[in-house]
Amino acid sequence: MRTKTRISVVGGALLLQLAALTASAEENAAEKAVDAAKQYSGITLNSAEEAGLMAMLGINITGPEWKDLTGIGLNVTEIPFEELFPKQMLEHKAGSGAYDIMTIGPSWVADMVRNGALEPLDPYIEKYGVASEFDDIAPAFKDWMTFEGKTYALVVDGDVHLLYYRKDIFEDPENKEAFKAKYGYDLAPPQTWKAFGEVCRFITDKYAPDLYGAGLINTGYMHFFFSERFRTYGGKFFDPETMKATVNSQAGIDALTDMVNQLDCQPPGVQTWGFGESLSALNAGEIAMTISWPPIARWAQGINADEQALSWVPESQVIDKIGYALPPGGHPELASGIMLAVSPDSKNKDAAYLYIQWLHSKQESLKNVMRPLGLRDAFRISHYESPEYQALWPTAPDYLATLRQAGEQGYSDLAILETYKYWDSMGRAVVAAIGGKDPKQSLDDLAAEWDGLTEQIGLDRQKAAYLDWSSKPSAYRE
């Protein structure tokens, strides 16, 4: 054989070997988990998951698959989102180990660790894990998993808010002309909340009742949406010196007032909409804009839609018509994000950990974040760059790029001591305002409630926690 050919053959072989090695090194975590778990075959793990679409992944797909691979059964208990924290904490206090696998959001880690409700995972990672798996987790989500140096949970879902809009409406030349004539700037995905209101009004005026300018979520996760807007308007949660709540600052009042006023251009009854309703409306072609979590893109595109489980969602009428952008203000809320943890009261900690590792692995997580079912979203660099994902639909690369950008520029959720209580009261204040209460009054009451909470918890402790959180760039992105 000629030398050149020999070199290229050897070179090619080497490359193949390297590829094989890398490939097998990358598959390791999932396969390692499966192999190690087989010894526990026959038991059943209990998993606490967010009720509804999220839980369907475990019930319909990953649970049965896991059982086939390892012989371990999975029993999913569905808990509504707002009860995830209380119910799992309650469970820990009762100590009966009803859940082996827990679903948690990053803001709860501090409280749960302090109450001993999470099993430290480092020993398990050492025993069963693959170190390289942690290298490509997007920076936005990476430090969610550790607290005070120890690992307590594995990320399985990277949440950000995106603005979804109807490209066909926005790119229609007639609309563009009319809008520019009326408002003086180009029709485009709004970059400020003022623009949002104007675009929404314009579209509604022209197309209602067939199409409305926007359909936002108004129940269920309102503290996320308000946190986002509030900070975009320049608001800060607390005065760093006195630890007094400043949610009722002018920024807050403006943000909440606008939020309520902008309901005008949205479909009637939008005040009762949750995640499901806004998704259905977008799919049915009834709204031109919404701000929501990443799965919307996949649903609107009709990707991998499992017939039976999703039969209540109208078939997408808007395939290939949806554009992706950062929400007004450019700093979307990293709204919650889901991690899986192991309960310290579990009787099957190893098996529970192995299931989590399997889901978290590069191989398995890629599959899951491509599905609409389960609401798991990209959280690894390898997800954003995956050729498979990018090929899923024509504008998928745009989507992934926007997600990545959103992660890098997004606001992290407030995370201090007993965050859940602050969240809960904020959510209630916002819903009250949407239901008719005066915004200023709602926020004044909220601030008073927050101050009361801070006092109970201990001002100094809370101040320390707040300063710790707010010192990170993702807090206020200034």
Binding site: F85, T272, E418, R428, V431, A433, G436
Partner: protein, 320 residues
């Protein structure tokens, strides 16, 4: 089964042997008394034991916890004085909850009474199929209040529920009332649900009570030429009053501890506008884990409640 002692002599027996038989019966009576005592106490023992176990111990524990400082961030079990009780005075949300609860009670109770009375009169006379109608009408009252709340939550839904549709028919145009999240409409929604569920309960009680009113008195009043209204006021009402008071008491107490249906309809929302006492306590205790504080709240409420109850019972006993 053990045979109990010597059978007593026949009552109304001859006086001849009375002294002897009295002696015999006295002796057997004391034997009897001994057996009876064991018997009667052993009858009440298990039931009382269980009730004490479940009622008394928890209350004691509650009082102990109310003097500690258990919460999400703290685990202080040393005696901490009245700090939790002091908080109660400044807890606006708690007093709001008390107000909400009383508001619902004052609205629902009279409506249920009135409607129940009307229904009772309607179904008073015996007719064919009356039994069927009455049996069907019991159904709302035996459904789980939680399921009732869920049912109405769906009925009140703006998009998928029939209520707004029906209202729209009457109004002639599309009406979009947001029953469960609009501050103005949330209370009507709650009251409607409760009235729907418990009017049958009142109805059945009043039906029986009305049926028991002395026929003779009614006839006498008719002969005297009294109008229907007067007859009701002066004959019927006093006759059914004791039963009515009991029914109102039972329903009133149920309304004060309202949880299930409101929880399903609004979860205490919008905001905290429809929080009842039970809902507030649940949220504080089981979602926010302010264990010691809620213990204090519950102790105070229980005391107020018992005092109130004793007063009401005394008045009713007097009225009788």
């Amino acid at each position: 089964m053990r045979r109990g002692g010597v059978p007593p002599p026949h009552s109304g027996g001859q006086s001849g042997d009375s002294v002897a038989s009295a002696a015999v019966s006295a002796e057997s009576a004391s034997v009897q008394a001994g057996d009876t005592r064991l018997f009667k106490y052993s009858l009440i023992a298990p039931a009382t034991f269980i009730m004490v176990l479940v009622a008394v111990f928890p209350l004691i524990y509650l009082i102990v916890v109310s003097f500690q400082r258990l919460s999400l961030s703290d685990d202080i079990t040393s005696f901490s004085g009245f700090v939790n009780y002091a908080r109660i005075l400044s807890d606006a949300r708690l007093w709001d909850a008390v107000f909400h609860t009383l508001f619902i009670t004052i609205l629902a109770l009279p409506i249920e009474l009135l409607l129940g009375m009307l229904l009772a009169y309607h179904f008073l006379d015996d007719r064919p199929l009356k039994r069927l109608f009455v049996a069907l009408l019991i159904i709302p009252s035996v459904i789980s209040p939680m399921v009732a709340g869920s049912m109405w939550r769906l009925m009140f839904d703006d998009r998928y529920g029939p209520i707004n549709q029906i209202v729209s028919w009457f109004a002639g145009h599309r009406v979009s009332i947001l029953w469960t999240i609009d501050i103005v409409w949330a209370y009507p929604a709650i009251v409607i649900t409760d009235v729907w569920q418990w009017t049958p309960f009142m109805f059945i009680i009043l039906l029986a009570a009305l049926a028991n009113v002395d026929r003779e008195q009614l006839d006498a009043a008719a002969i005297d030429g009294a109008s229907g209204w007067r007859t009701f006021w002066e004959v019927t009402l006093p006759a059914i009053r004791p039963v009515m008071m009991i029914a109102l008491l039972i329903r009133g107490l149920d309304l004060v501890r309202l949880f299930d249906s409101v929880w399903q309809l609004t979860r205490g929302g919008p905001g905290s506008a429809t929080e009842t006492i039970s809902i507030y306590a649940y949220i504080r205790g089981f979602q926010e884990f302010d264990t010691s504080y809620i213990a204090a709240v519950v102790v105070v409420l229980a005391i107020l409640f018992s005092v109130g109850l004793v007063l009401v019972l005394k008045r009713m006993a007097i009225a009788r």
